[in-house]
Symmetry: C2
Subunit: 378 residues, 2 copies
């Protein structure tokens, strides 16, 4: 198996799992957050920056790399790791989420999805087989099955048909996957907020014995408590000895709440996207560094942070750079936000070790402000 | 004196000078190229990047920092070094060049220049006294006198009046400068391509005993041989025991030709600006990495280069990043071009040491393609 999961312990207070995922490019402890490097680069960051801040695995997007520069070029380069100079694990998605997001420009059939790409408008076709071909060419350690991503909210009947198609497509992915020896293929449990459908989806996919399982269709607009409820009944349906990945989730509260419910891996563009807009995650909550009140604030973004940005630069300097559209400002804010989430996961793992993740949750939520009425979710 | 010049040797073949400039933030060997960090950041680079590539001194722009974030804020931060986390020498210009470039938006009087700033349109006034006040607040090691920057070409009579005004303004700068103990003020020799006026300007300014001298009004559109001719008769007019700075010059051929004519310091936005457009300087000449022919070229930008970019990334990857507007691509190209010029200056210094700078010039020009008819100048 290309990917194996080593279970270390379960938190006695919360049920969260501490583990290690082993891949052909090294291992990482879980629960873990994966920075997103859509186009074979985590925007503004170098591989050395990512290593310095403690990133152990990154995610890249199949749809975007298929379009630019093209998966054949990356294959010729020796694969994505070599192309982008990143020698730690990489996970790629299937391209499905992006293609389904092109709602006015795509047509779904049993065979796959025909769509017009967002750059040239050219007609293209993505199917389970094509998603495997591209990801086999890119060469990530973990690849994702091509699933149908239904809109939120979706009717029960639509969702049921979609879950069944996702299972058939998962079977086709397994059949088309050419490199199971060095690339682990994860299946994606769908079913929206219908417990019965999540059960059906998990049962179908677990019977196919994938090396890992993702939970899809969450963080798509539903309230937080729905996400937590779905996780509560879904994670117990997944094999204890395989990693579990909650797709597209990266707000600090959801990382903690997902860990509590037995999730091992997370990814999201949130920390990097808001960083480029000058919004920072700190131990005391959100900080919008563009605000005029920081113009003469020579303290760090976060007094309690020991990242490169906080050790060397002031709020006033970062505000100046962001307001002047200087890319070094984006480097500094991106670095800080990614470091913040990686450190948060380190704290989560430590709390699991100490059987006190629920206590940690209370402390963290209180300090960040998540307990306030109408708290923003990041 | 805040700034002193230590002469090491003169090249027996060319007359070029090898020396060391000592400043309150450390020393650097000359001839030296200074990367430009207009807004208190060398675009896309961190201070660590700059140190790793061998940058010893950087330049920042008074006009831009006056407008954003404002010199008082930088003063409150503890000065420019601390504000931007750069502990090596900094030189700032006077703001004059930028203000004079606002040709339709400024009015020149003996007192100074009234202009509308390019961001808000607000009326502002820059004078010798104001340029000193701002630079004293910013706190660079080397500051520049406020001079008149005449257009090219300019009539003799206009240029003569301008040179005389520049001398009067230099006198006022000396009088207004509040920190001569820890900031060295350089005067700027003007006079266009009129030898008589260059002599008059140099004589006036040398008599005022500045710690260093710049040569201004070159690289403003005149042919290369005019620049070389002006340098040939101007540098001998300057004190042997003071550094000489040729402003705004950064094409590889001009760095070599300026050094041959006794120049010690250079700055220019050229390497960083063209880098952001995907144009690279290599040991075999210019390379436009956006070109389709590099799409599957997995070799480095420059086979003969040992910089971070060339050691770790391919032309194909950098082309992909630049075409996708990924800022990490700009980091990689900026890093390479700055490293190229810093390395070129290292080679120039070595050639001076070995009394063979004219031979080195021939070798370098031949390899880069400067000897070809209609060669581009970078």
């Amino acid at each position: 198996m290309a990917i194996t999961y080593e279970h270390i312990k379960t938190c006695k207070q919360s049920g969260a799992r501490l583990g290690i995922v082993h891949t052909p490019h090294g291992s990482f402890e879980t629960p873990m957050f994966m920075p997103v490097g859509t186009l074979a680069t985590v925007k503004t960051m170098s591989p050395e920056d990512l290593k310095e801040m403690g990133a152990k695995i990154i995610l890249s997007n199949t749809y975007h790399l298929w379009l630019r520069p093209g998966h054949e070029i990356i294959k010729e380069a020796g694969g994505l790791h070599k192309f982008m100079n990143w020698d730690r694990p990489i996970l790629t998605d299937s391209g499905g989420f992006q293609v389904f997001s092109l709602s006015d420009m795509r047509k779904i059939t049993e065979e796959g999805v025909e769509f017009r790409n967002h750059l040239s408008g050219e007609k293209m076709f993505l199917s389970p087989e094509k998603a495997m071909e591209i990801q086999n060419a890119l060469g990530p350690d973990i690849m994702m099955a091509f699933d149908e991503c239904p809109p939120y909210p979706a009717e029960y009947d639509y969702m049921k048909a979609s879950v069944e198609r996702t299972s058939r497509w998962a079977e086709r992915c397994l059949g088309a996957h050419q490199r199971p020896h060095d690339q682990g293929l994860f299946a994606i449990v769908q079913g929206g907020e219908y417990e019965e459908l999540r059960r059906q989806s998990a049962k179908d996919l677990v019977s196919m014995d994938f090396p890992g399982y993702a939970i899809g269709g969450l963080s798509v607009g539903e309230p937080k408590d729905i996400m937590n409820e779905v996780l509560e009944y879904t994670t117990p349906l997944l094999p204890h000895d395989k990693p579990r990945y909650l797709m597209g989730v990266g707000s600090p509260d959801s990382l903690v709440d997902g860990s509590i419910r037995g999730v091992d891996m997370f990814d999201c563009v949130l920390p990097t996207r808001i960083a480029r807009n000058g919004t920072l995650m700190t131990s005391e909550g959100r900080l919008v560094v563009r605000n005029a009140k920081y113009a003469r604030d020579f303290g760090p973004i976060d007094e309690n942070c020991d990242c490169y940005t906080c050790k060397n630069y002031s709020r006033a300097y970062i505000r100046h750079l962001i307001k002047a559209n200087e890319t070094f400002g984006l480097r500094l804010t991106t670095y800080h936000n990614l470091h913040f989430l990686l450190k948060l996961m380190e704290n989560v793992r430590q709390a699991i070790r100490e059987d006190r993740l629920l206590d940690y949750r209370e402390e963290f939520f209180e300090a960040y402000g998540f307990n306030k009425p109408n708290a923003k979710n990041f």
